[in-house]
């Protein structure tokens, strides 16, 4: 017998526990009974039964074709989504793919989204102090040479001259020595560094090599993560009224960001489901798919789509432990039945391959049975009940 923390008698507990109610509702029943002293066991039973009826009424029925219903519930509002690729998400400064293109991208499980971005939450003092938060920003945002100073080419001496900006260096927490070191390492040249001036040139005087060096120099990431081109810092209000700094990035490198000091790895997310899968595993990827599809729909005012539909899609996409796309290269293409695959896309190839592999179609699924002209195994087609095969004697039938 379960422990009941409410002041009700054992018989009442017995009748309530006898129902199929979940714990939450049982407790609520006890609470109600406790509040209304003097309810008899019969009354308690009736109450419990009435609650149970109501509860069972809100449950999905067995043999409900939930897959099709979910697919329709997501697909049908697709016509109401915008086509405009760019729109502003929560942060006006960062363009994010929205609407139908984003939904298609998610369902396709593209390797990289059109506009990768991350939302980086910060820990402790990093979240509250602007200075500290900026420290994290410089560790994330890719810093190129042009942000640090001016680059000029001295054609006469065949030298590249960099004049670094003292203030920027300090702000971005990098020294001229470090800059020079990075240039030496990545370009393989000797540099001459004097204060904020750095100079170097090709080994042999060649105009082409000089220009090449400048080109390469511009691509070097001196600090931060190469993939992240921009970071926007925003002050956001927390539920408890406090404020904290949140970083929004253009470009994503989820794994790298999680390693950076000051980043709250438990809340930081990114919009690339594959990166989440790689770093946090399949369950996190499932959660990310739900979250992203839900946000995409909500952004377009379709937040009334039941999350359960999105969950089913996400569960289907992650069912095998890796992210599978919805469509010919994913779930539909790896179906067991030849006919189902042939009826979806690339018909002829599937048939030819089936012949070579000597495949056998057991006609379990929906499409196959439609093709063959048999009742499908869903809903009423999944029940094998016949009326009146034995006489029941109760005389209920007319």
């Amino acid at each position: 017998m379960t422990d009941v923390a409410y002041d009700v008698d054992d018989d009442t507990i017995a009748v309530v526990e006898d129902t199929d109610l979940p714990r939450r509702l049982k407790d609520e029943v006890y609470e109600t009974l406790e509040a209304r002293e003097g309810a008899t066991v019969e009354e308690a039973d009736e109450l419990a039964k009435a609650v149970e009826t109501r509860y069972l009424d809100t449950r999905v029925e067995p043999l409900d074709p939930v897959g099709t219903v979910s697919a329709q519930s997501i697909g049908e509002p697709g016509t109401q989504l915008t086509m405009n690729t760019f729109h502003y998400a929560g942060v006006a400064e960062i363009d994010v793919t929205q609407g139908l293109p984003r939904l298609i991208e998610l369902v396709d499980a593209r390797k990289t989204p059109d506009t990768p971005m991350m939302t980086v939450y910060l820990e402790d003092e990093y979240a509250t102090e602007r200075e500290k938060a900026h420290e994290v920003v410089w560790n994330i945002e890719a810093t190129q040479i042009l942000a640090l100073g001016d680059v000029s080419t001295n054609v006469a001496d065949m030298r590249v001259q960099i004049s670094l900006n003292e203030d920027t260096l300090q702000e971005r927490l990098i020294t001229a020595e470090e800059v020079a070191g990075i240039i030496e390492d990545s370009l393989g040249v000797k540099t001459v560094q004097q204060g904020t001036q750095i100079e170097f040139g090709p080994e042999e005087p060649s105009y082409r090599d000089l220009l090449q060096l400048v080109e390469e120099l511009r691509d070097i990431t001196f600090k931060g993560i190469e993939e992240v081109s921009r970071v926007v810092i925003r002050r956001e209000e927390l539920e408890n009224g406090n404020e904290e700094f949140v970083l929004y990035t253009e470009g994503s490198a989820f794994g790298d960001v999680l390693e950076i000091e000051g980043v709250d790895a438990s809340r930081t997310t990114c919009n690339n489901i594959h990166e989440i899968h790689r770093n946090l595993g399949i369950e996190a990827a499932r959660e990310a798919i739900i979250e992203e599809t839900n946000n995409t729909l909500a952004e377009q005012g379709l937040d009334d789509v039941n999350v359960r539909h999105l969950m089913l899609v996400a569960d289907m996409m992650t069912n095998r432990g890796e992210i599978e796309s919805i469509g010919r290269h994913g779930i539909s293409g790896s179906k067991e039945s030849v006919l189902a695959r042939a009826a979806f896309e690339v018909t002829v190839n599937h048939l030819l391959n089936a012949a070579i592999h000597g495949e056998v179609d057991d006609l379990d699924g929906v499409t196959e049975n439609v093709i063959v002209g048999k009742p499908i195994k869903l809903g009423t087609g999944d029940v094998d009940l016949r009326m009146g095969s034995t006489t029941s004697g109760s005389g209920q039938a007319d």
């Binding site: 939904l103 009334d304 359960r308 919805i326 030819l352």
Partner: protein, 975 residues
């Protein structure tokens, strides 16, 4: 007839066919390319041989003796003069050629390697991974070998020239070997390569000096080992590529020797598909039923594309044989062989890249086998997944507010065509006779009868009377549709399950289907020429399922968001708003008239007595008559006021969209969930009729005067716009002076655009607000916007205030000429006017330039919609295809049809998305239930039982079986 019952198909297996099998199943060998002789009879052993099946009615099949329609046709065959390659398998053939030994045909893998790959393959199969990854790896491994591990034969590279030619590429000694060696021995002073003397060469290569000299003179061809030695010594390449074409017959011989065990490793099932069967020696000829010829009006026969292609194949095949027998030169034979290959290739697939498609005389590419299967209209998607059906009708729809939402008005001519099968028993024999005696033309008539012996008789005007007398129990009568029959009704695109619902028939005159307007939202239908389809159900099981599961009232709640999708729309909402907004008074006649089409035939106690002493009823009281007696509700309504309903009495608030509307009208939603679908259906029907009566009582119309504003307001609007223009000018000047400060993360240009857009949109809003002030609350456009019936304040702003900025791609209009939108403007003019700001309103009319910009914005919208529909259609097709097999089980799990568990409980908590609104937690109001149970406020024991759940709510099967809801009527069964 009974023995033709189709058998239940258990499974389908796929494989290649052996040539011998083709011959065995063939009804005849085909040798002549001609089809019909001069008299129009099919030629024996020709492509239309009568043994291949019958297509003309009345003829008998020479193979099975059946007539056209019941004979499925029989295959024939063509003996190909030489083997040809099957185009579908060219890639696999290439892989096999590369992976097997050219001499002993064994797979070029050691036994260990082979076993390893086989294990991997089994593993992949178990995990249902893609087998191709393993087989490709196996071939890659095998290709690395340059010698056969079994017979030691040297392996050559295989070149594949698309589509069907294969070459063996060998490295052989070039014919200019002596020159090359001599050249290399000269050395190169610039490069610092020294001269080599023949002596040195002989020493380095360990070839005798005399031999070296012979080689240098070109009189001796060096052996392979010698060649390699020379190549190494002089660092040169003495080889050239020699390609040797592999004829299909060679390939066939090669493949015949591949052992079964080796094939398995490549994922091929040797029991079903031997690789040599990929090279055809016999070509099956599809039965004539698969390629029927059509007789044109002028009596000429027009043959099917497949027949044309087969004619080509036979012609070339014969020429090939004749030429070969006549001993034609190899070159000609090869040409013919290639031609035969081309025809067989295009017979199977006419869209191979690199080959010109075979064309019809008119220049249209032929539709051959692959093309028949492929694509949306192909066999799979067009004929097998989607089938054409009988007993269906399609016509234009039109509204009929007098119907129940469960009903559909069916034109009598449709009702007379669609039939339902009646099994005549003693109890319905009278009805059956009546139907038959009415004949096929009279309305509740019959079209066919079937006697107990299985004979089917057509009911005609002439024989109907006599036939009617003969009808007895045991007969079957195909009677017309009558009122109360259940049919399925559908509007494309069928985007969700509410696009296909069951309705009860009401037979009506004229030619359109009639619908109650409240079912427009689920079908997304309007009456601007929309057509819909109707399907008459043909067996009792289907009819029962339709009644219980598919009827409109069962689909009131949308599974997408868990609220009602059916509710009052448009004028219904305006009507309810007028009825309840100021809570107007009605005298007895008026009140009764409002409730005329509802179940209410007696008015409640009057709400009060007016100054003249006559009793009156308020709008609230009239509306409250429709509510269930014990309904309690309280929520914030459409116009922001509190709506309070207590004990089925509306006490406060205005009834409008959020109360009774489609897509989640609170009252409709609550009634559906608490009182059941039947009660909700009655409520929606009654609300809509009450609203129609109300709107007719008050009168409701809209005209141009309703959007015209006084002179004074117009000048204020003009001022606002002028002001906005000035501000835009200021911004532009600031920008040109370089004083504009850019927003974070934006360029100066973008900042300017954004600021201008903001200024102008504010200007439009201000204009709208000014216009607004001059509209009374009873202005019909305002009523519609406020009640949520149709339109918004934005529409009103655009009609009376200013249309505002036109946008393309979310920006001001920036396209057209170089540096300007239209030639009416100076280049680089950044002003509001030059970039599509429309300062006029729709009532005042647009200037030509404004009109043009407006059209640009409008066009973008049209293009966008067109692109969106196709994209989202494909998205939905993919989603449905991926998820269609998922179903909840009795244990609560969600599994696909092969029993893979996808979710342990649907949506993590097993809550139905239909019954619970998506933004609600599944809250059950225990407190409220306790109130009712413990305080026992029930009118009858039955109601109490139902509330407790010990007695289920009666299933309502028909509009005309409303049981206790329509008081006094007994529970009646369906028929």
């Amino acid at each position: 007839m009974q023995d033709t019952t189709p058998k239940d198909i258990g499974s389908l297996s796929f494989g290649l066919m052996e040539p011998e099998e083709y011959r065995e199943m063939s009804a005849t060998k085909i040798i002549t390319a001609d089809t019909y002789d001069d008299d129009g009879f099919p030629i024996d052993m020709g492509l239309m041989d009568p043994r291949l099946g019958v297509i003309d009615p009345g003829l008998e099949c020479k193979t099975c003796g059946k007539h056209s329609g019941s004979c499925n046709g029989h295959f024939g065959h063509i003996e190909l003069a030489a083997p040809v390659i099957h185009v579908g398998f060219t890639k696999l053939i290439r892989r096999l050629l590369r992976g097997t030994c050219r001499e002993c045909s064994k797979l070029l893998l050691t036994e260990d390697e082979r076993d390893e790959f086989r294990d991997q393959l089994d593993e992949s199969r178990k995990l249902s991974r893609d087998l191709n990854d393993v087989t490709k790896a196996a071939i890659r491994q095998a290709r690395k070998k340059d010698r056969c591990p079994f017979c030691g034969e040297i392996q050559y590279d295989i070149d594949h020239e698309k589509p069907t030619t294969y070459y063996e590429v060998q490295q052989v000694l070039t014919s200019e070997y002596s020159q090359r060696i001599a050249g290399a021995m000269q050395g190169d002073e610039e490069e610092g390569v020294e001269r080599t003397t023949p002596d040195e060469l002989a020493e380095q290569t360990e070839i005798e000096l005399t031999r070296v000299n012979e080689i240098l003179s070109g009189s001796f061809r060096p052996r392979e080992s010698q060649r390699k030695a020379i190549e190494k010594a002089l660092d040169i390449d003495l080889t050239e590529e020699d390609t040797n074409k592999l004829m299909p017959s060679d390939i066939r011989d090669w493949f015949e020797n591949i052992p079964d065990e080796d094939i398995e490793v490549l994922g091929i099932n040797p029991e079903r598909s031997r690789p040599e069967w990929m090279i055809l020696t016999v070509l099956p000829v599809p039965p004539v039923t698969a390629r029927p010829s059509i007789t044109l009006d002028n009596g000429q026969r027009s043959e099917d594309d497949l027949t044309h292609k087969l004619v080509d194949i036979i012609r070339i095949n014969q020429r090939f044989m004749e030429n070969r027998e006549a001993g034609a030169p190899q070159l000609i034979i090869e040409d013919l062989w290639e031609l035969l290959q081309y025809h067989v290739t295009t017979f199977m697939d006419n869209e191979i890249s690199g080959t010109p498609p075979a064309r019809h005389r008119s220049g249209r590419p032929l539709k051959t086998l692959s093309q028949r299967l492929k694509g949306k209209e192909g066999r799979f998607r067009g004929s097998l997944s989607g089938k054409r059906v009988n007993f269906s009708a399609r016509t234009v729809i039109s509204p009929d507010p007098t119907l129940s939402l469960n009903e559909v008005g069916v034109p009598d001519r449709v009702a007379k065509e669609m039939t339902q099968t009646m099994n005549v028993t003693e109890r319905n024999v009278q009805d059956a006779r009546r139907f038959v005696s009415n004949g096929p033309e009279g309305h509740p008539g019959a079209n066919y009868v079937r006697r107990p012996d299985g004979r089917r008789l057509k009911v005609t005007e002439k024989n109907c009377e006599q036939l009617a007398e003969k009808v007895e129990a045991g007969w079957e009568v195909n009677r017309h549709l009558i009122d109360g029959d259940i049919v399925i009704f559908n509007r494309q695109p069928s985007l969700h399950r509410m696009s296909i619902m069951a309705h009860e028939v009401v037979v009506m005159p004229y030619k359109t289907f009639r619908l109650n307007t409240v079912v427009c939202p689920p079908y997304n239908a309007d009456f601007d020429g929309d057509e819909m389809n109707m399907h008459a159900l043909q067996n009792e099981e289907a009819r029962a399922e339709a009644r219980v599961l598919m009827r409109v009232q069962e689909q009131m709640l949308s599974p997408r968001f868990g609220e009602n999708i059916i509710g009052a729309i448009q004028d219904h909402i305006s009507g309810m708003y007028l009825l309840t907004h100021d809570n107007p008074r009605f005298n007895e006649t008026q009140a009764l008239d409002l409730l005329r089409a509802t179940r209410i035939d007696e008015l409640p106690e009057p709400s009060g007595i007016d100054d003249e002493g006559t009793p009156f009823w308020t709008g609230y009281d009239v509306f409250s008559e429709l509510l269930p007696d014990d309904l309690d509700l309280e929520f914030t309504g459409t116009i922001g006021d509190e709506v309070i309903i207590e004990d089925g009495q509306l006490l406060q608030g205005t009834i409008a969209e959020d109360e009774v509307g489609e897509f989640g009208g609170e009252i409709v939603d609550t009634i559906t969930k608490v009182y059941g679908n039947t009660r909700a259906r009655i409520f929606v029907n009654e609300v809509s009729t009450l609203a129609m009566r109300a709107i007719m009582h008050f009168g409701f119309s809209i005209g141009i005067d309703d959007e015209t504003i006084p002179e004074e307001a117009q000048s204020r609007i003009d001022e606002t716009i002028a002001d906005a223009n000035d501000r835009v000018e200021e911004l532009i000047e600031a920008y040109e002076r370089g004083e504009l400060e850019s927003l974070p993360g934006r360029t100066i240009d973008e900042t300017l655009e954004m600021k201008i857009m903001q200024t102008l949109s504010r200007a439009r809003d201000n204009a709208g607000n000014i216009a607004d002030e001059h509209f009374q609350d009873d202005n019909p456009a305002v009523v519609m916007a406020n009640s949520g019936a149709r339109g918004s304040m934005l529409n009103l702003t655009q009609m009376a205030g200013a249309v505002g900025q036109q946008a393309v791609r979310g920006e001001r209009i920036n396209r057209g000429y170089e540096d300007r939108t239209l030639s009416h403007y100076e280049p680089n003019d950044l002003s509001a006017e030059a970039h599509g700001f429309v300062e006029n309103s729709y009532t005042s009319g647009l200037t030509p330039r404004e009109f043009f910009f407006h059209a640009m914005g409008g066009r973008e919208g049209l293009v966008d919609t067109a692109v969106r529909t196709s994209k989202s259609g494909y998205l939905q097709r993919r989603l449905i295809n991926a998820l269609s097999e998922l179903e909840t089980q009795y244990d609560g799990t969600v599994r696909d049809t092969s029993d893979t568990i996808v979710q342990f409980e649907f949506g993590e908590d097993g809550t139905s998305p239909v019954k619970v609104s998506s933004d609600d937690d599944n809250d059950i109001d225990v407190e409220h239930i306790a109130d009712r149970v413990l305080d026992s406020e029930f009118e009858s024991a039955e109601e109490r039982q139902e509330f407790l759940g010990s007695k289920p709510r009666p299933t309502n099967l028909s509009e005309h079986a409303d049981d206790r809801l329509a008081e006094g009527t007994e529970v009646t069964s369906d028929d």
